[in-house]
């Protein structure tokens, strides 16, 4: 059996679906963050797969490297925000963060 493009894209699509589903249903902010990372990594799988199988060039991999570094910065900022909230409220369930509503 050989790895073909649809198989890899399928893995990416499943990861994307899981990530979006988790991000929309989970209440713990850290879990939501993890699901978002899943989404970003599904994008990386897509990019690398396209780069390897169709385009056969480094472009997709460069894109993936940028996505990785930006994702790290994003995670760092996100964790810092979560930390700021945890210090005051000692819990980070986003259901409980509900001061602002119409």
């Amino acid at each position: 059996m050989t790895l073909s493009l649809p198989v890899v894209l399928g893995v990416g699509a499943i990861m994307f679906g899981l990530g979006v589903y988790g991000a929309l249903t989970q209440t713990n902010a850290i879990r939501v963050l993890m699901c978002i990372e899943l989404v970003l990594n599904s994008v990386n799988i897509n990019l690398v797969a396209f780069s390897r199988f169709t385009a056969d060039q480094a472009l997709g991999q460069i894109f993936a490297v940028f996505v990785m570094t930006v994702a790290a910065a994003e995670a760092a900022v996100g964790l810092a925000i979560i930390l700021m909230i945890a210090r005051r409220k000692t819990q980070i369930d986003i259901d409980q963060i509900n001061l602002l509503k119409w």
């Binding site: 991000a23 994008v43 990019l47 385009a55 994003e74 909230i85 001061l99 602002l100 119409w102």
Partner: protein, 471 residues
């Protein structure tokens, strides 16, 4: 060396950010930072204007594109940045925000917006988008002692990061379909591609993702909370610069990259525009807090601007670019008044405007004028902007959307007039209110520009006619 002169605005802005970083460590007076910021912004503006006449050029293997379209957006961003530097100081000091960090982050966020506008290449657009939004997440949470600010920040972050992922997924599909990350090559590749369903999927992800970024209904739920909870200068920045940058990138991707598939999206975009303006206006009527009212008003305004995208003719694009400029000035000016008021009355309720006409006549008059511009009453710039959007929609064959715009302008009258009524007719405290010179200058610039764009729109309209989004 020509490429560096074309990049000069970005280079100056990046240098300004790094300089502010160093100044924040070494200088104890934070007003020095604001002064340095204003000077740096003026230099950036000068560099942007100097590049206006240059022919459209792509540098660094097509990653950066310098054309009139990009320069126009950079002009908007730089002006907003300058006004933010001018009017934020007192507010930030009163609320014990770390002023230096605020100035640094807002500079880098603007740099991100610059990059989004000046590229036809997906990786650069993505880097610009993230530079802008990641800085904005922190900015939204800068009132560390205010739980609402933290909440604004976490909501903004979780939705923003997820939608960045969704946009990226769409972009990765575009790359896979065409083997390129340059929008012009993507358009050529898509025209030849038989994979209609994948193109549609990419379009769905990209439109939904940018729908979040520009706070279009039904992707708007984070926006009112974020705009209300964030520090007021940050709300002003997000509602104007961040939104305009989202439109810049959306325009490029839809009208250049997805051009072959565009006709199938126009109806969808028109419906989104209609729902966005109607929802924003109707919800704004019942608001009692100033910033939340302005947040829903911003959603409604995003709906008007989206009309320009949906119609997708050269006229509609130049009409929406004009409207974005007017909108930026009117909104920033209105926020300057809100900031002045909340420096004295921290509650930020619409009721606080009671009696403002006697407490600070010049501010009240400016606010009334800017709100009239947001409604679209002559002789303000808002009137001319809406008129040209209306005309473009009729000429583009979307008469119903044009009618919806007119109806919506009527719906929006009560909540804007509510503020004016409070200022002029309601009884309130009578102590006089004042502000620092910076805020007064910022307000003066906003009002003057809004008036100028309403009375003499021709120079800008002429400029916009020469400006092409396509390569």
């Amino acid at each position: 060396m020509q490429q560096y002169s074309l990049l000069l605005p970005e280079i100056i802005l990046a240098g300004l950010g790094l300089l502010l970083l160093a100044l924040d460590l070494t200088v104890s007076s934070k007003r020095t930072l604001a002064v340095a910021g204003v000077i740096g912004t003026l230099a950036t503006l000068a560099a942007v204007v100097a590049n206006f006449g240059a022919p459209a050029t792509e540098i660094w293997s097509g990653t950066i594109r310098v054309d009139a379209f990009a320069q126009y957006f950079k002009l908007i961003f730089a002006v907003i940045l300058g006004l933010v530097f001018l009017f934020s100081g007192e507010y930030l000091e009163r609320r014990e925000v770390k002023v230096g960090e605020f100035y640094i982050l807002v500079t880098f966020a603007t740099l991100g917006a610059f990059l989004m506008a000046s590229s036809l290449e997906l990786i650069t657009i993505y880097i610009g988008l993230e530079l802008m939004t990641i800085s904005s997440y922190v900015l939204a949470g800068m009132l560390r002692n205010d739980a609402r600010s933290s909440e604004a920040s976490i909501k903004f972050f979780l939705m923003g990061a997820l939608t960045s992922g969704v946009i990226l997924y769409g972009l990765s599909l575009l790359y896979g379909l065409t083997g390129s990350t340059h929008l012009a090559e993507i358009a050529a590749g898509l025209a030849a591609s038989p994979n209609a369903s994948l193109i549609t999927a990419a379009g769905v992800f990209i439109i939904a993702g940018f729908g979040f970024k520009i706070a279009a209904v039904p992707f708007h739920m984070w926006a009112p909370d974020t705009y209300e909870g964030a520090p007021t200068p940050v709300s002003a920045f997000l509602i104007t610069a961040s939104e305009a940058a989202g439109f810049a990138a959306l325009l490029r991707i839809l009208l250049v990259g997805l051009a072959p598939a565009l006709p199938q999206w126009q109806a969808v975009l028109a419906v989104i525009a209609f729902v966005t303006m109607t929802f924003g206006n109707v919800t704004a009527i019942v608001q009692t807090r100033t910033k939340r009212m302005l947040a829903y008003s911003a959603i409604a305004q995003a709906g008007y601007v989206l009309v320009g995208v949906a119609v997708a003719t050269p006229e509609s694009v130049s009409a929406m670019l004009f409207y974005l400029m007017v909108y930026a000035f009117s909104t920033i000016g209105a926020f300057a008044v809100v900031i002045m008021l909340s420096n004295h009355v921290p509650s930020e309720e619409i009721e606080d405007f009671k009696g403002l006409a006697r407490r600070a006549p010049a501010f009240a008059l400016s606010m009334a004028f800017l709100l009239l511009s947001l409604i679209g009453v002559p002789p303000t710039g808002g009137f001319f902007g809406k008129l040209s959007l209306y005309r473009a929609a009729v000429d583009g064959g979307m008469v119903w959307l044009a009618l919806a715009m007119v109806l919506n302008s009527a719906i929006s009258v009560p909540y804007y007039f509510n503020v004016i009524r409070n200022m002029y007719l309601a009884e309130g405290p009578s102590t006089a209110l004042g502000a620092r010179p910076g805020l007064k200058i910022a307000l003066g610039i906003s009002v003057a520009a809004t008036l100028l764009l309403g009375v003499f729109p021709e120079p800008l309209v002429g400029l916009l006619r020469t400006l092409h989004i396509m390569p």
